[in-house]
Amino acid sequence: MKYVKLPKENFSAFVENLKTHGKVYGPVKVGEFYSFQEIKNSKQMSLDYPRTMIPPKKFFLTLKEKIFTFDEEKGKYEEALEEGKIVVFGMHPCDINALKLMDKIYIDEAPDKYYKTRRENAIIIGHSCHPDEYCFCQSLGTNYATDGFDIFLHELKDGFFVRIGSDKGNAIASENSKLVKNVESKDIEDFREAERKREEEYTLELNIRGLTDMLALAYESDVWKEYADKCFGCGSCNLVCPTCRCYDTVDNVNLNLKSGERLRRLDSCMLRKHGLVAGGLNFRPTRIERLRNRFNCKGSLRENMLNCVGCGRCTVYCPSKIDYVEVHKKVRGEL
């Protein structure tokens, strides 16, 4: 890994220069929430944000997109893929790690062209963070991004300790060679100190040892009924989850009834229709099954790989205040 230092006074110039790589998106405060929005200058950003409501997955698996158009008379399907270069600035380690999990689904096997293209067209600039009472990323080891970014900025008192994570990131650092400096031993000490302090700031813990077995053993437990009674089945947890990636497709027809488009939009496993097949059979007919399925799905992307990064969003934005960590404690029989 290559390391450089970005002094505080050069920060806005650095952000400005990123515009040559595409539209720059950063965390902006909107009302009482935070959101990744296109920014004109660095001052618009609130880099001390705890988490955005909608995770940066929205740039790659968009909430709604046209995947192709069709024309029955001409007899053809035509791919609809809008390509635009973007820079996502200020992503936290949990969100970077979440994208790596998403890549396993959307790139590793039968690559999804839309997702993959957008991933390739994006530059990821990470930014260090401080946990609040909802963060349990430390338990999952996702509170640090070892890769999955082009550049990562660790905030120090007098600037940023910069990690270069890719060739693209290296090129950006070279372009900005006048703005960055070599790291000195004091910077390294400051970085170590900052990381040490940050590790101590965590208050919430999720015990992941044997978590998948605990979920399997609690399959018939009353826990699911207890929380299903509280759950509104609104799907907010799916929308805000950085690793939730279910989608549905729908065909829209033009007025001539011959041509139209197929849209893909995010779906939610908490909605009644998720397990419903034509003919009326529903494989997850009640909220109990749907809630249990969500927790089991978060517990396993594949064997030995959790599908959660501990960002805390599902707890924070649940209108019924269902606490993800608390549910897991009940699953273990600790509460």
Partner: protein, 292 residues
């Protein structure tokens, strides 16, 4: 880069009524290059797109007989299947696939096959049967149990009647069960072939055969309720769980393990029916929750 979500165009060449709610369709892919490589195994399925209506997973009901051609047996149960029923010969549909693992036909070589189908479940098993009959020397006994409700709901009537009447000559023992004990046409079938046809649910047919659990594979497809009872009968006859294959139905929107609708199992064993299945063994079902 290949776009896995973009369907390939195919032309409907046959759309025939089979029963009140099922039709038989044959489609041929338009692109000649694609037709060359387009092939599928018994038990796989295909995503059929109707422009402006949507897409649905349909199991393939035959082995490939002609380059670029595919046979489907479709029940009218929803929006897409209803649209499929109303397709004219010559109309265009979109196909993606084939998807899914299919039945392990090679692994089962050298053994006897017992196919148990209920209702529409006979569609994917028909391709297994065709494959096994085409490669007849590779398998020992081939036995088929087909359960129907009434004569009118029977699929591939001529074909299966043939098997019922002279199946032994064609290389398989074909048994038929019907649920409606008052169905006149079924009764006359039974009168004709009393050794191969009886009233009752499909599991009743087990009374008629002797099974050697050592070298038999069972292959099941039918409505979800059927699996438990058939598995019970097979287990009673000492067939080990890993030799019981079944193919499952779920909402398989994408077919490639991405859209998340067909997920089953618990934290220790999440499975995608579309990608890891739709063919699973009873052993899998014992270890992944919510399968049957």
């Amino acid at each position: 880069m290949e776009n896995v979500l973009l369907p390939n165009l195919a032309k409907i060449v046959k759309n025939e009524k089979m029963t009140a709610i099922e039709r038989f369709l044959q489609a041929e892919v338009v692109d000649k290059k694609f037709a060359e490589i387009f092939d599928y195994n018994p038990g796989q399925f295909i995503e059929v797109s109707i422009m402006g209506v949507g897409e649905a997973p349909i199991s393939i009901c035959s082995i490939r007989t002609k380059k670029g051609s595919i046979d489907l047996c479709v029940r009218n149960v929803g929006r897409v299947t209803n649209a499929i029923h109303h397709l004219n010969v010559g109309s265009l549909v979109g196909l993606r696939g084939p998807y899914g693992n299919g039945f392990p036909m090679e692994e089962m070589e050298g053994s006897s096959l017992l196919l148990v189908a209920g209702g529409l479940g006979v569609a994917p098993l028909r391709s297994v049967l065709q494959y096994a009959l085409k490669n007849r020397a590779k398998y020992k006994d081939i036995t088929v149990f087909y359960g129907i409700r009434t004569y009118d709901t029977m699929l591939f009537r001529d074909e299966f009647y043939n098997l019922l009447a002279e199946g032994d000559k064609l290389g398989c023992k074909f048994y038929l069960s019907y649920e409606d004990a008052k169905d006149a046409k079924c009764l006359s079938l039974e009168a004709e072939h009393s050794d191969r046809c009886m009233s009752g649910v499909v599991t009743k047919l087990f009374e008629r055969i002797k099974m050697s659990p050592k070298d038999t594979y069972a292959i099941i497809c039918g409505p979800p309720i059927m699996y438990r009872f058939v598995v019970q009968e097979l287990t009673k006859r000492n067939l080990p769980p890993e030799k019981i294959y079944m193919t499952l139905e779920r909402r398989m929107k994408c077919g490639i393990g991405k859209c998340g609708h067909c997920i089953i199992g618990d934290g220790t064993s999440i499975k995608y029916v579309c990608k890891d299945g739709p063919v699973f063994t009873y052993w899998d079902a014992l270890h992944a929750k919510g399968m049957i």
